[in-house]
């Protein structure tokens, strides 16, 4: 039965697509990518159905089981991230068909986008499915290599500079993570997460290793103060790439932290690390928002918004130690947040890209009157803004509600205050952008580099982030089917 091999297929199909697109030539590559994307969407939906139906399951690649082989693990959380990647990936692919439509074969990186993009997709799917801490390292590096290359795709000095910084940050992170794995293995002698979770005993070496791994992952997730590479990389990449980076790639490393902190590592094993992460998350929310508020270029604003939104993801760790109710609510809330932010941020980056190509520049203050000539894009910004502010009705609201409820259920109102303040700060920078777009003025729009048809893609993504609030019950079910909650024995 083909569906029994779903985890393997989710890695194999995009990998095949990547190879095919490379040999297909730049004219046919988009078609290959679209077919691949459609197939992945189907597979992702099938995976969700399977997980909801039968719960988490392990898949032994090539029939070799752990500890010798490398197991893939599909649970509710990984299915959720895979389906998010599939939806956003589909949108990015559709949008890119118009964005990268050029016949100039001398252009730097010409025709390479499709291969790199599908390759990155492959690595992301693998990352979400892997159940082995060393395999995580490999997947992270694969994601990193393709992401760095995608960032430099335009070949401009700024993009290259951003790419180089991204690469060095990647290397630093990779080596730190690997050192952590080495120490962990030296102590426990295991790499499989489930086995680790069962066998972890208090030990200095193991704790040091895990702390180093988490530090490395924090760097890859761009949590303040380790966010230094993100604004440049996400801001100067081609827009479809920015969308994928901001909405998916940071979630990849975050997903690993989530699994490590809440599944593998027992509560209190790492001392106050969880609270420290929450504090850093709060700092990220404030710092990222304030920086976003002061940006003058649109993609920089959106990139700093990612810095801020990533902060929310880390609030789950202190909330999770506040008791069973708080734990379940916080995990569900953070999953909803990851999905809604993924959808909204992708829509926002793609819309920014369209605005930039329409205007021929990226200066926010010179985009007055865009609402009149580009209503679809303005609406996209507005909808994405609503969910990022966490205002109802939107996925962001669902997430904020759950997280606030978790904080209140755990009696820790200060985290609720952080969440609420974060929403207000998000409103500040989003409405700064919206106000300019709605201002009176007749924008002289440049030649549209992307066909208006694809402007509906960001709108669809942003709208999906808004109507996500209706899908919260589904996400709740997926959260219940995640190993994290099953192991903790709680349901939201």
């Amino acid at each position: 039965m083909l569906l029994d091999h779903l985890p393997a297929l989710l890695v194999a199909v995009p990998l095949t697509g990547a190879a095919l697109s490379f040999v297909a030539g730049h004219r046919r590559a988009p078609h290959v990518a679209l077919v691949t994307a459609a197939a992945i969407v189907a597979l992702a939906v099938a995976l969700v159905a399977r997980v909801l139906d039968a719960g988490p399951f392990r898949y032994a690649v090539g029939g070799w089981t752990a500890p010798l082989g490398i197991d893939l693990v599909a649970d509710g959380a990984s299915a959720l991230f895979i389906v998010l990647t599939a939806i956003v990936g589909m949108g990015v692919t559709l949008y890119a068909t118009a964005y990268f439509r050029t016949d100039d074969e001398t252009a730097y990186g010409h025709g390479l986008f499709w291969t790199l993009w599908l390759f990155m997709w492959t690595s992301l799917n693998a990352l979400f499915l892997t159940g082995d801490v060393f395999n995580v390292y490999v997947c992270l590096e694969l994601v990193g290599i393709s992401a760095v290359t995608l960032v430099t795709l335009s070949g401009g000095a700024e993009a290259l500079r951003a790419g180089a910084r991204y690469l060095y940050a990647s290397m630093l992170g990779a080596m730190t993570y690997l050192l952590g794995v080495a120490l962990l293995y030296a102590s426990v002698g295991q790499l499989d997460m489930t086995i680790l979770a069962d066998t972890l005993t208090p030990d200095v070496t193991a704790a040091t290793g895990l702390a180093l791994m988490i530090a490395a992952l924090v760097l890859k997730t761009a949590l303040v103060p380790a966010h230094f590479w993100l604004p440049a990389a996400h801001g100067s990449a081609p827009s479809p790439v920015s969308a994928a980076l901001s909405s998916l790639v940071v979630k990849g490393s975050y997903f690993v932290i989530l699994r490590l902190m809440l599944y593998v590592i027992p509560v209190g094993y790492l001392g106050g690390t969880d609270v420290a992460l929450g504090v850093l998350g709060s700092v990220a929310i404030v710092w990222g928002s304030v920086q976003a508020l002061f940006q003058t270029r649109i993609k920089q604003l959106v990139a700093y918004s990612t810095v801020a939104q990533v902060g929310y993801l880390f609030l789950v760790f202190p909330l999770a130690r506040l008791g069973a109710d708080a734990f379940a609510l916080a995990v569900t809330g953070v999953l909803v947040h990851a999905v809604s932010h993924g959808l909204a941020k992708a829509g926002l980056f793609l819309a920014s890209g369209s605005l930039m190509s329409r205007f021929g520049h990226d200066r926010i203050d010179d985009m007055r009157g865009a609402a009149r000539s580009a209503p679809v894009l303005t609406l996209t910004v507005a909808l994405a803004g609503i969910t990022m502010m966490g205002l109802p009705p939107s996925g962001g609201f669902g997430a904020k509600w759950l997280l606030v409820s978790s904080a209140l259920a755990g009696g820790a109102w200060w985290w609720a205050a952080v969440l609420v303040a974060g929403g207000l700060l998000a409103a500040a920078y989003m409405f700064r952008l919206l106000a300019v777009l709605l201002a009176d003025g007749d924008a002289v729009l440049g030649t549209p580099a992307s066909a208006p048809r694809t402007e509906w893609v960001p709108l669809a993504l942003a709208a999906a982030a808004v109507v996500l609030v209706a899908a919260v019950p589904l996400i709740t079910d997926l959260a219940s089917a995640s190993n994290i909650l099953i192991r903790a024995g709680v349901t939201p």
Partner: protein
Amino acid sequence: MDTIGSLIPTGMGALRFAVDDIAVPFLALFAFLWLVSGAHAWATTPARERGRLFAYYVPSAIGGVGVAVAADAISFYLCFALMALPAWGLITHTRSAESRRAGAVYLTLTVIGEALLLAALVLMATGGDSLLLSEMRAGAAASPHAALIVALLLGSISLKIGALPFSGILPLSYTYTPAGAASALAGASVKVGALAMIRLLPADAVGADWVSAVMLLGLITAFGAAVMGVLTTTPRAVLGYSSASQMGLVLIAGGVSLGDAGATALAHGAIVAFALHHGLAKSALVLGADVAAHAKGRERTVALCALALPALALVGAPFTSGFVAKYALKDAIHLLHGPVPEAVYALLPLTAIGTAALMLRLFVLIRRETVGDPLPARPPVAPWALVLAATAIATWVWPAEWNRHAIESVVSPDSLWTATWPALVAIAGWQAMRLIPAVVRRLDGVVVPGDVLVGLTALLGRFDDHPRSTQVAATPTSARVERLRTVLTATEGRLLAWTTASTILVLLAVVLVTLALS
């Protein structure tokens, strides 16, 4: 839930009107005066201005007549407001700057008076759980807020009748108003204050010191307004202060009515008598002054002679309406004992001196006055004549307890003398003043209509004509925000520098490891 409780105004169906013993004299007086004054106003107003004048006059008249028969709180308040507010249009009819200022003052005080009245009505209604005026008044004495209710009512009434220090409201509202309308205001409108005393002021609700205080206020008003009136320079202003002075006497009766029930009945009689007497006489004076001012030669002399009748009535000369009314008042005061009522009783005849002086001043001013604005027709005589006739006979023929008693006992040598000597004193004093012409000249016009209230017009002017502009300009991004932006951006720039950033990262790893091991 089809029936709604007694406290809730149920649409127009809730408005209750009743013609009772109190309503009859007031209804007759108000209807008569509004009609007759209206006729005068119609005849003396140029056709193109009639629409504008009567747009205010008619609602005011409807309110003025309605208030007499209003039997519940809502209809009373409705008619009270309907009468008082459109009067603003009558006062400002000439559209001169002074009239506008007068209108503003009038409106301000009226509105305050209505607010006080409404507050009192609300408190009375909830205390007695009824909207009927008679029950509300009866229940007010038992209300925990009885003193407050009485204070609110007295405040409202004082504003209406021009008790000190608000006496200026009356001359202000007559001075610029066309004669017909002024007659209605002076004759009818002010008397609503008297009606309110009867309808609303509860008997036996507050202590004797309240009675004394109100009586004193009335007496001071009676004297003070007379003094101020003598010092003004237009006939209308004199008439206005004279009204205030006379209403001071009514206020004395109002004070008496606050006492026990026996005194209240007598006091109400006095109030009705005064309302009838003063309403008619004052209207006759206003109309007559207008007629006289526009007459020439012999006609003018005849008019001035006819004008003497209401003037004498106000002074309370024997066999005039004032004669009866003052007797009724004295009768009521006489019932009370204590230093203040006795003092008021003793001083009461002296008020007639002030009134007499006012009347003398009025005649002087009318004779001095040259013909004012050209009118489409000379003021008609018929309406005035009707009012004159009514002035002469009304208090004598009105079928009521108070005047039967007064008529039976009023004509005695003693009372005739009491009614006459103040006028003689006034005339003597007047003649004496001629010996010091310099002082008289200096005093002439010391008081402008509205006296202390004129200060209010200055205050109101700030709200009315050219209010200070409060336009708020769109705030530019302030320098402070700009500085903050610079600092934050610079900080972020330093954080982003590779060496700093990666060092921070290594430190972060160290911190996390430390935490993990702690």
